[in-house]
């Protein structure tokens, strides 16, 4: 008897609707913690944004305004003079960077995709060792390859040329792009390639018609990664290029580091913004692919 009543009581406990007061309390607690989380996030966000805000504000100020006001003060009058001057100085180097980045990114991505395809689907004797050595390239610091690279470029007659800089970036980037593509393609079932071979497709048809269309997220990862690396590169640019072939990072450095005359911070800031904008744009446009590509392979499908 007593067993039954205990059971009944227990079940009634479970079935009892939660009191209204309890629900309200829970909601208030939740919104409080929500508020704390949001406040922290906004604070962190603001902290991170301060340098950008300072740069933007300064770039639109006149030199007098910069001297008299403080860093975070609103410009007395918005002026584009800084931007126009900055473009006049670094504009041609901006195009230099474009001329380096576009071919270097495209070539290293295409070759990385091909490498990854071969290393995962058409394994040859020693391909594992080959891949291992290639991975080594990911851990090589820039500085290590400066001397051998400049020696090679000199031998090839490519010293101080855009082509030479493209070559260095392609070679250096291949280790990364191959790694990205190879790691994606090993997660692709080999049966796909077998099926395509039986269907009569050859090496390049299988790559172009079947694997590449599947690799959009990985392609995006490679594009963003390589774009950021190469656009932001300073060391290779300063070593392997000179004068008219220098990329924008070097030009920006030259502009900011000139010690003659009055420092025009508005021009410096505008030039820095111009140098940084392309990577920002790429992240905004392709960022969702970046995350998706980095986690692809982690979860099937």
């Amino acid at each position: 008897m007593s067993d039954v009543s205990v059971a009944q009581r227990r079940s009634s406990d479970v079935l009892l609707p939660p009191g209204e007061g309890g629900a309200k309390r829970r909601m208030r607690a939740m919104s409080l913690s929500r508020l704390a989380i949001h406040a922290t996030l906004i604070l962190a966000c603001a902290l991170y944004l301060v340098p950008l805000v300072v740069m933007l504000l300064t770039s639109f100020k006149t030199p007098e305004d910069i001297r008299t006001g403080n860093l975070l003060s609103w410009p007395e009058a918005f002026t584009l003079i800084g931007w126009i001057k900055a473009w006049g100085v670094v504009g041609s180097y901006f195009w230099n960077s474009v001329m380096i980045v576009v071919p270097a990114v495209l070539i290293s991505t295409v070759m990385g995709a091909l490498n990854g395809y071969v290393l995962s689907m058409w394994r040859f004797r020693g391909s594992q060792l080959f891949f291992g050595l290639l991975l080594f390239g990911c851990f090589l610091p820039f500085q290590v390859i400066l001397l051998p690279a400049s020696f090679t470029l000199g031998k090839l007659g490519l010293a101080n040329t855009t082509t030479g800089l493209v070559l260095v970036h392609v070679v250096y980037g291949l280790a990364f792009t191959t790694l990205f593509f190879r790691n994606f393609y090993v997660s692709v079932p080999e049966a796909l390639v077998r099926a395509a071979r039986l269907d009569g497709a050859g090496f390049f048809t299988i790559f172009g018609r079947i694997l590449l269309p599947m690799s959009i997220p990985t392609i995006m990862v490679c594009l963003i990664w390589q774009f950021t690396q190469i656009w932001n590169d300073f060391l290779f640019g300063v070593v392997f290029a000179s004068g008219d072939t220098q990329p924008i990072t070097v030009a920006l450095n030259n502009l900011v580091n000139t010690s003659t005359g009055i420092k025009e911070y508005n021009v410096d800031m505008a030039a820095a913004m111009i140098a940084g904008l392309p990577t920002l744009v790429v992240y905004v446009l392709a960022g969702k692919y970046f995350l998706r590509g980095l986690t692809s392979g982690a979860v099937k499908g």
Partner: protein
């Protein structure tokens, strides 16, 4: 449609490594359905890949319609394959998946459209043509994979465990459909499976493989009723064949094998081709569960045995008893529902049992008297 013949085929992955396939000899006629069956790792999938040309062979010949294709690539062999994982091209629609092989062979677009329509009708996937593989269920993907193979009208179809990723109900359905399709199209087919029901139901010929060697190549009936060795006998059949260890003794002109159920002893007369070396040697007596029945005939020896466990499956009742300390499964009619501990009087025809060498697994031939029937056999029952 083509005949397929494998002559002395060998496959080794690296020199010095053990043979993956050893001296494979097979021949099927045009339109026949060949099953390659065996446990995982027996080399059946490798053999199929060799036939497809996806893996190079180290020796022997592969003849399609009498032409040795061992040196040609997969696309020149005119073979289509259905993969276990289906291997549908994920970025293409169902239509493009089916058409891909035709496009690669530069078939005119009008013919492609016709073929896709024909195949889609055949497999009832017309409403799925514009979908991507990810939007299909497992069964639908399976149909598309088959459609891709059917569209090309190749000389030979290869099926690599095509049903193993489906749930049980769908598997039975698709099995029947594959059989129907083969009856209609009559294309030479090689079908790899580890499922012995598929092997029995689908094939014209079955090759049972183990460790890269074909153990037996025969019709499904031949494999079931007349297995070449212990491995084939144990692999084919569900519930599997019972193997009771016995030591036959010679008594005059007759061989006798003692069966002890714990409750009773029985001397089973065996029609052994009289070889003295068998005297007292350990042999395995192979009896299929359905060959054991409730005693009803006076001409057959009867064994009394206590029921240890019963498993009513619906169409049958499986009763487990012990003979010579070995669990023996008896497949009884469903209306017989013995209690555990009940002693059953069981009978089986000694002329239909198989004998194997316990050590080597070799089949031991029964004597010439085998076809004479069992009328003269005497029950020798010694209740304890």
């Amino acid at each position: 449609m083509a005949s397929l013949e494998l002559r002395n085929l060998n496959k080794r992955y690296a020199s010095g490594a053990p043979d993956t396939l050893k001296d494979i000899e097979l021949k099927i006629d045009s339109g026949e359905f060949l099953i390659l069956v065996g446990p995982s790792g027996c080399g059946k999938s490798t053999l199929m890949n060799c036939i497809a040309g996806l893996e190079a062979i180290t020796g022997g010949q592969i003849l399609i319609d009498g032409q040795d294709v061992a040196g040609t690539g997969p696309k020149d062999r005119d073979i289509a394959m259905v993969f276990q994982s289906y291997a549908l091209y994920p970025t293409m629609t169902v239509r493009d998946n089916i058409a891909f092989g035709l496009k690669m062979r530069k078939v005119p677009q009008a013919t492609i459209d016709e073929e896709v329509a024909r195949v889609a009708r055949l497999l009832q996937i017309e409403h799925l043509l514009e979908r991507k593989p990810a939007q299909l269920s497992g069964g639908q993907q399976q149909r598309v994979a088959m459609g891709r193979a059917l569209a090309r009208r190749p000389k030979i179809y290869l099926f690599d465990e095509p049903l193993s990723n489906l749930d049980a109900k769908l598997r039975v359905e698709m099995r029947t459909e594959i059989k129907l399709m083969h009856q209609r199209l009559k294309t030479t087919t090689v079908y790899v499976t580890h499922d012995q029901i598929e092997a029995m139901t689908l094939g014209d010929k079955v090759a049972v493989m183990k460790d890269g060697v074909i153990q037996q190549f025969a019709s499904p009936r031949g494999i079931y009723n007349d297995p070449a060795n212990l491995f084939v006998a144990s692999f084919i059949g569900s519930p599997p064949m019972n193997f009771v260890p016995v030591r036959p003794r010679r008594q005059g002109a007759q061989w006798l094998a003692a069966l002890d159920s714990g409750q009773a002893r029985c001397e089973l007369p065996l029609e052994l081709a009289g070889d003295e070396t068998l005297d007292g040697r350990e042999l395995l007596l192979g009896i299929r569960p359905e060959q054991i029945g409730i005693a009803g005939s006076h001409s057959l020896p009867t064994v009394l045995a206590e029921v240890k466990v019963t498993e009513p499956t619906g169409p049958d009742t499986l009763a487990f008893v012990e003979l010579n300390d070995t669990k023996v499964c008896c497949r009884l009619p469903p209306e017989i529902d013995p209690r555990v501990g009940e002693v059953l009087a069981l009978q089986f025809d000694p002329a239909r049992v198989l004998l194997f060498d316990a050590g080597s697994g070799e089949r031991i031939a029964l004597g010439p008297a085998r076809s004479n029937g069992s009328a003269k056999k005497v029950s020798r029952l010694h209740p304890r």
